[in-house]
């Protein structure tokens, strides 16, 4: 921690007429190290590529190549960042070299770096899938620049150490998600975007309300500083109000019951690859923000609210899976499964402790991979079967055995059955719930898993195994660009299910780092607090 080495700066200011200023009291004087650049690099990388793609708008045939190479680079950068954080603990870089809490700090800890890496993987898979899914008009409309800016917003939200800055990244990803959602301008998409747009804007405005109060109460927006000051303010500041507002705002972004209705209204309308991206990224950013604020910044308030959170989690799980059972449209069914998964994650946040929070993080990462892959599968099913409804979709197994096998694996994974990645977080969550005596929450978790098995099992039975009633035409050829990302994500799910130890160990460290953020604070304020 030598980078904030404070120099004697009298000589620097020798030319000035005013009394010599001690710049070290306000600025980080040592130049940032290469590792620290890694914290900001993913965001800068995405923004530069997005701008480059906008400039190349007359040359859309090059867009996919640049975007896919760029996203592969993003995976590399996020991977390096994660390795660096595992090795040396949280990393901080401050904007404009102003010392925190005055400068905006970007801090990557294990939780943020893990989410960012999985998000980049999901985006890379979507980038490959988009070759077959986004036609020339979609490219001219700006799919790839919007994708890069979306990734900048998502990664920025995972990296930032400043609450207002988090709001700004939310808005960045929200505005690019609007653009992606209406891509195509079909009636359905406009209908879906109206509901998505208004409700999400209200949610981020609620977030801004909470942040306004937060600043009025704390006088700081830096997360490490807030975590430090919360202890002293707890007795006479309205921290419960803040916690309630943040829970509502992030719950709405994450599509938790009863503020989940924007999700099933919109997620089945855009291009398949856009649905897949949103399923993997957007609700999980809400969950990440909820974990960051409630677990790290306001842990006592989370404890107080845990019963409310547990009720909301149970209802989210049950409403989600019942909604999935009632749907006949493939993608709308998946939309409700996302909601059910959000309920499981909320259950982990409600239970708390290393087991609960670790389970929530693991479940969120698993859900990012699996839901994206399932949306890919829905797109391929629509290509093969020429229908999106499980009333008419049939005989997919006969048409493409390999695809059917991958889909079945994903159905198992999303239901939390072994040997796939959904199993371990579910075990952790159930165990954490039983450990604190919340047997009913554990029961709801298992019931939701059971009902998910029924919903996906019926999907597989009807769409894949059922014989096609009408004569089967020629099976349309399946582009490798659709099957490859599906296979890659499914394989990753399988690998994480069979060999979860490295990820599990990292997640347990991440949860411990949120529970006791002293390493995070030390990274933002090396050598103690500013006077």
């Amino acid at each position: 921690m030598s980078r904030r080495h404070r120099w004697d700066t009298d000589c620097v200011m020798a030319a000035s007429t005013s009394p010599p200023l001690d710049l070290s009291a306000a600025l980080v004087l040592a130049p940032p190290t290469a590792a620290e650049w890694l914290v900001i690099l993913p965001v800068v990388w995405c923004l530069i590529l997005g701008a480059l793609l906008v400039m190349m708008r007359r040359n859309v045939s090059l867009h996919p190549v640049i975007a896919i190479v760029g996203l592969a680079g993003l995976v590399g950068i996020d991977g390096l960042l994660l390795l660096e954080v595992i090795r040396n603990g949280p990393l901080t870089m401050v904007m404009g070299r102003w010392l925190p809490p005055f400068g905006i700090a970007f801090t990557a800890d294990l939780t943020g770096a893990l989410f960012a890496l999985i998000a980049a993987l999901v985006a890379l898979a979507a980038g490959v899938f988009s070759i077959a899914d986004i036609n020339d008009s979609g490219r001219r409309y700006g799919f790839y620049p919007l994708l890069m800016v979306l990734m900048a917003g998502v990664t920025g939200a995972f990296m930032t150490g400043d609450v207002f800055n988090l709001y700004v990244w939310f808005e960045v990803l929200l505005i690019s998600s609007f653009g992606l959602l209406v891509l195509g301008s079909e009636h359905e998409q406009i209908d879906g975007t109206v509901k998505y747009g208004f409700l999400n804007l209200v949610a981020t405005t609620l977030f801004l309300v909470a942040t306004g109060y937060l600043y009025a109460v704390f006088g700081t927006l830096n997360m490490a500083d807030i975590a430090r000051k919360a202890e002293g303010l707890r007795s006479n500041a309205p921290l419960m109000t803040l916690a309630g507002l943040y829970t509502l705002a992030f719950g709405m972004k994450a599509a938790a019951f009863p503020v989940n209705f924007w999700l099933p209204a919109s997620y089945h309308t855009p291009r398949v690859v856009v649905s897949a991206l949103f399923a993997g990224l957007l609700t999980k950013v809400g969950i990440y923000a909820l974990i960051r604020v409630m677990v790290m910044l306001l842990p006592v308030e989370r404890e107080e609210l845990s019963f409310v959170l547990a009720i909301a989690a149970s209802l989210t799980m049950i409403v989600g899976v019942l909604g999935a059972l009632a749907q006949s449209d493939f993608r709308r069914l998946l939309g409700f499964l996302i909601i059910s998964g959000i309920g499981s994650i909320l259950a982990g946040i409600a239970v708390g402790g290393p087991g609960g929070i670790g389970g929530a993080i693991f479940y969120a990462l698993h859900s990012m991979l699996v839901m994206t892959a399932l949306y890919f599968a829905s797109g391929i099913a629509m290509r093969l079967g020429a229908s999106a409804s499980i009333v008419t979709l049939a005989g997919l197994y006969r048409r493409h055995v390999g695809f059917a096998a991958l889909s079945l694996m994903l159905c198992f994974a999303v239901s939390g059955l072994p040997p796939f990645s959904g199993f371990w977080p579910k075990v952790m969550l159930v165990k954490a719930a039983l450990d604190i005596g919340a047997w009913w929450l554990a029961a709801v978790l298992l019931l939701a898993g059971f009902l998910t098995t029924i919903a996906t099992g019926r999907l597989f039975l009807l769409a894949y195994w059922r014989e096609q009633a009408v004569a089967v035409g020629e099976t349309p050829p399946l582009p490798a660009a659709t099957l490859a990302p599906l296979a890659a994500l499914t394989l990753l799910t399988l690998v994480l299910g069979l060999y979860p130890e490295p990820l599990l160990a990292t997640i347990q460290d991440a949860a411990a780092g949120l529970d006791d953020p002293s390493a995070y604070r030390e990274s933002v304020f090396p050598g103690g607090w500013p006077q």
Binding site: V168, H187, V194, L201, Y213, A216, T269, S328, I390
Partner: protein, 125 residues
């Protein structure tokens, strides 16, 4: 003065919620615009209201002599205004397109993406 501003913010929020509860999209849009301004006023009030006190530290002092309005919330508002204005512009165009394409501005009648009488999933083969 803060108390009066708090009341004003309350009025803004009331108006915004009332408008947003409407079925008609243009009223919801106006509600969203008022909501954005309600939040801006809230942050503004949170940063202390002082008239004519420049937050300038004297040469021989280390801190401000008396209380002054905090400049940071005003910077936050500036950011929020820009963002909410761009969102308002986007949603305005979107609402117009929705009215044009779906031929209604009543959200109850916007059922293209979620049809009213969808067939239930089959119970057997």
């Amino acid at each position: 003065m803060e108390a009066w501003f708090a009341l004003l913010v309350g009025v803004f929020f009331t108006v915004a919620v009332y408008l947003m509860l409407s079925k008609f999209i243009i009223r919801v849009l106006l509600g969203v615009a008022v909501l954005g301004n309600a939040v801006n006023l809230l942050i503004f009030t949170g940063g202390r209201l002082m008239r004519g006190v420049p937050p300038v530290i004297a040469d021989d002092a280390q801190v401000l002599a008396g209380p002054a309005a905090n400049a940071l919330p005003q910077a936050l508002i500036l950011t929020a205004i820009v963002i909410s204005f761009s969102f308002f512009a986007f949603l305005l165009v979107l609402s117009w397109r929705a009215y044009d394409d779906l031929e209604t501005d009543n959200t109850d009648e916007m059922r293209v993406a979620e049809p009213v009488n969808e067939p239930a999933p089959p119970l057997g083969y």
